[in-house]
């Protein structure tokens, strides 16, 4: 319940205003009165009422118009109409327009109190619903971030101590003990990776991508993506070679998610490369499009697996070092690329390697109208994405 409900009474008859104030005296309400619609609407702004009680028949601004303008100003305010000439039809009309209840003149103090109490309860429910809805929205928006942080933090602490223990115990540990430590470490690492991929997967929001789009030089997301796979690549002695023309092709897109899409593809190329291998990342403009190719000379993909690799939760055979994916990375990449109006394809020869090609509409450099060219295919692809 609300602490003190604020009630605004608008009526041209002073005696009605006085008696309303009188009736509610002693209750925990704050009451303000206005003698006409104009003053009432001013008070609407200054007094910020929870409830507005308005006489339908007044000189100047009519009760119906006051009702309308109160609704426009704040649709959550609960309104009650006073019908002077005891016509049910105008009360019905007012309720059709959103009034919560009506009060036919003359009314007894008890009738008035009852209606006010019910309206205040209604107002409480409205406010509560709004608060809950907002909370739910907030939770949904941040759910992935909250959950992944709550899951990741303890796992990171566990892993950090495993790292430390491994160093401390190394000199004295038996071969078997050492190998068990390594296996636990691997399991925790896989779990951490899984949570991270999951979080990124669920936080891909196509509408958000669209709203964040701007002219992006492909150099930035490519460099970001390569930077984030570098640790893994270095560990496997895999060389990642990028070739981006100068100036780099421009696309209409969201830098962060484009980098994300590339991280998954380049990360995969590293994962399925052999130790000491090489991954080539090239970008080139081609017939109004931009093609980004990521080529590895790794284990390749079996022909029967090719149609499935962009589906969620599909994982290939373990990579060269027994690595497995979460089955989300390429599905996430495809969603991002398609949200940009592009496409992603793959060619592969088992044992020889794979080449992934991401094609995006190029941003034509023709002044302020430029971005529109890119924005159109974006809208079309969002439709496709919902199929």
């Amino acid at each position: 319940m609300m602490d003190t409900a604020r009630i605004l009474v608008i009526d041209d008859e002073e005696i009605v205003l006085d008696s309303c104030v009188e009736i509610l005296r002693g209750d925990t309400y704050q009451v303000a009165t206005a003698g006409d619609g104009q003053r009432g609407l001013e008070l609407m702004r200054e007094f910020r009422p929870d409830l507005v009680v308005v006489d339908l028949k007044m000189p100047g601004i009519s009760g119906f118009e006051v009702l309308e303008r109160v609704r426009t100003a704040d649709p959550t305010v609960v309104t009650i109409v006073i019908t002077g000439y005891a016509t049910v039809s105008s009360a019905v009309e007012a309720m059709k327009r959103g009034a919560y209840d009506f009060l036919p003149k003359p009314f007894t103090p008890d009738e008035f109190r009852l209606i006010i109490r019910r309206a205040v309860e209604k107002r409480s429910l409205v406010l509560e619903t709004i608060a809950l809805r907002r909370e739910r929205e907030l939770l949904r928006e941040h759910f992935a971030a909250i959950v992944s942080h709550e899951l990741t933090a303890p796992l990171a602490a566990v892993q950090q101590n495993l790292f430390a223990l491994e160093r401390e115990l190394a000199p004295a540990a038996t071969e078997d003990q050492r190998s068990r430590l390594v296996r636990i470490k691997t399991r925790v690492a896989v779990l951490l990776q899984l949570i991270d991929t999951w979080r990124r997967g669920v936080s891909i929001d196509i509408d958000a991508i669209k709203s964040q789009c701007a002219a992006v030089s492909l150099r930035v997301p490519i460099e970001k993506a390569v930077e984030s796979v570098l640790v893994h690549a270095t560990r496997k002695a895999v060389e990642v070679v990028t070739a981006v023309p100068d100036p780099a092709p421009l696309v209409w897109g969201d830098q962060g998610t484009l980098a994300e899409a590339l991280v998954n593809v380049i990360g995969n190329a590293v994962k399925y490369s052999r130790v000491g291998g090489r991954v080539d990342v090239t970008a080139e403009p081609l017939d109004g499009e931009v093609r980004i190719a990521v080529a590895d000379a790794g284990v390749g993909i079996a022909p029967e697996d090719l149609p499935l690799i962009f589906d969620a939760f599909y994982t290939a055979q373990p990579g060269a070092a027994g690595e497995r994916g979460s089955g989300l990375g390429l599905a996430v990449s495809r969603r991002i690329v398609e949200a940009h109006g592009g496409s992603i394809t793959v060619r592969s020869t088992p044992g020889k390697g794979s080449t992934f090609v991401i094609t995006l509409p190029a941003l034509r450099d023709d002044g302020p109208g430029g971005p529109r060219h890119g924005a159109e295919p974006l809208a079309a692809s969002a439709k496709e994405g919902r199929r």
Binding site: T152, A153, A157, Q159, Q160, F163, A164, R167
Partner: protein, 139 residues
Amino acid sequence: MTEPKRLLIVDDDPDFVAGIKAILDTAEYETAVAYNPKDGFAALKARRYDLLLLDIMMGRGAEGVMMARKIRKDPALRDLPVLIITGIREQIAFLFPGQAVHPHFVPLDELLEKPVEPELLLEKVGALLQAAEARRQKA
């Protein structure tokens, strides 16, 4: 032998701190710990440290970012090298829109993701300490 370098760890997860501290201790660093930004800042003002290891998500949110901003504003502290160790790389990029993956809080800083492999941790700590030394000699 020269004096051991003094490091301060500010992180609200005692278990994570234990794992980091154990690794740094084997490398002969002298490490002190604060489990919240307030104590951490007080420790920095109380005596000289050679390096700060700072967590980002602490308390009710990104309190580590606030601490980094305070350090940047403090002329006595802004030359302190900072190693940011955090679990949330993307969210940091989000807090500093327009910047590359690694936002620079202070002139000398580096960013690592939790958990940190011991070799990588020691390498970054060593590199930052060296860079700070080089800056000092230039000045």
